[in-house]
C-alpha cells in the first residue's frame, strides 16, 4: 500500500498552512496498526465503543434483575413454542441463534473469497448473509409480536413477574435487532459494489474517493461477526440465565 503522508517529517517546508494543516497535522502521527487498512482499524475502534454500549446494557440488566424483589419471568417458558403439539422450551431463540451463526459462516467465507478476487462467489455469499440476517430480524419481529399481543409484555409491566423484564427485553433485543437490520442494509450495499466490480477495478469510493478493495468485505465482516458476538452474550445472559 502506498501512502502519501503530509507533514510526517520535521521539515517545516512540508507543513501545510491553515485548515488543511489541521487535517495533515492530526493525520501525521506514526501509523499504529501496521498492515491494517485504515477502514478496518476504524471499524475496530467503532466496535470497541459498541462493546461499551452493549456491556452497559447488560450491566444494567444484571443490576435490575439482581435488585428486584419480584420473581423474574422464566425465559425458558416465556419463549417456548408449541410445535407439532409439543411445547418446546426456548426453541425460537435457539433457531435464531443457529440462523445467526450460519450467517456468520457465510460472511467469513465471503471475506475469504473476496481476497481470492472471486467476484461472483463473494456476491452470492454476501447476499446469503443478508438473507439470513433478514430472516433473523423477521423471527425477532414474530417474537416481539407474540410477546406484546399474546403475552401482554410491556416495557413497564408484564403478567409473569418483575416489571423490569419487559424494559430490559425490549431495550437489549431492540438495540441488537437494529444492529442486525443496519447490517443487512450494509451487506446489500457491499454485495452490489462487489457485483458491479468496484473492487476488481478499484473504482474510487462514493464518499472517500479512495480506491475500493476487497478489504471492504473484511471490514463489513467485522461488523457482522460483532453482531453475532453480541448475540452470544445476550443468549447466555438474558435467555439462558
Amino acid at each position: 500500500m502506498t501512502q502519501t503522508v503530509h507533514g510526517n517529517t520535521a521539515d517545516p517546508a512540508e507543513l501545510l498552512p491553515g485548515s488543511a494543516g489541521v487535517v495533515a497535522d492530526w493525520a501525521s502521527d506514526q501509523r499504529a496498526f501496521k498492515r491494517v487498512p485504515w477502514g478496518k482499524a476504524m471499524m475496530w475502534i467503532f466496535l470497541i465503543s459498541d462493546t461499551f454500549i452493549f456491556t452497559c446494557f447488560l450491566i444494567g440488566y444484571m443490576t435490575v434483575r439482581a435488585s428486584t424483589t419480584d420473581p423474574w419471568p422464566n425465559p425458558s417458558e416465556v419463549f417456548a413454542l408449541t410445535l407439532f403439539g409439543n411445547k418446546i422450551p426456548l426453541i425460537l431463540i435457539a433457531i435464531m441463534t443457529f440462523v445467526l451463526i450460519t450467517s456468520s459462516g457465510t460472511m467469513a467465507l465471503a471475506v475469504n473469497f473476496g481476497y481470492r478476487k472471486n467476484r461472483k462467489v463473494t456476491f452470492w455469499l454476501l447476499l446469503a448473509t443478508a438473507l439470513l440476517g433478514a430472516t433473523f430480524v423477521g423471527m425477532q419481529a414474530f417474537e416481539w409480536t407474540k410477546l406484546i399481543a399474546e403475552e401482554g409484555v410491556r416495557p413497564w409491566a408484564n403478567p409473569m413477574g418483575a416489571p423490569q423484564f419487559g424494559a430490559v427485553f425490549f431495550m437489549i433485543t431492540g438495540f441488537h435487532g437494529t444492529h442486525v437490520s443496519i447490517g443487512v442494509i450494509f451487506l446489500i450495499i457491499v454485495a452490489v459494489k462487489v457485483l458491479r466490480g468496484n473492487m476488481d477495478e478499484e473504482r474510487p469510493g462514493f464518499m472517500t474517493g479512495k480506491p475500493q478493495r476487497y478489504e471492504m468485505v473484511e471490514t463489513m465482516g467485522l461488523y457482522w461477526h460483532f453482531v453475532d458476538l453480541v448475540w452470544v452474550f445476550i443468549f447466555a445472559f438474558f435467555y439462558l440465565w
Binding site: V36, T51, P89, G105, R213, D228, L229, A236, Y239
Partner: protein
Amino acid sequence: MAQAEGQQHPLGIYFKIWALLFVLSAASYMVDYWQFVGWARWFLIIIFMLLKAGLIVAVFMHMVWERFALVYAVIVPPLLLMVFVGIGILEADYTFFIRDVFFSPNDFVIETHH
C-alpha cells in the same frame, strides 16, 4: 515476501470453526432443555459463551493473525468493564437489601431504639 494486507487463510479452518460454533450453540441450548440448575447451569452457560465468543473473535474476526498492537487495543478496554460489573453487583445487592427491608408488605418492621 512481506505479508500482504488482508487476511488469506485456508477455507478448512472456517468450516471447522463453523461446525464448532454449531456444536457449542447446541450444547448451550441443551443446558436449558435438560434443565440444569444452580452452579452447573451458570458454569456451563459461561463456558460455552466464552468459547463461542473466543472462536468468533479469534478466527472469524482474524484476531489470532493480527499484530499485538491491535489485539491489545481491542481486548484490554472491554476487560476493564469487569470493574463496572463488580460495582453493579454491589449496588444491586444493596438495593435488594433496602427493598427487602422497607417494601416488604408486613413481616418485617424496623424497630428504632433511642
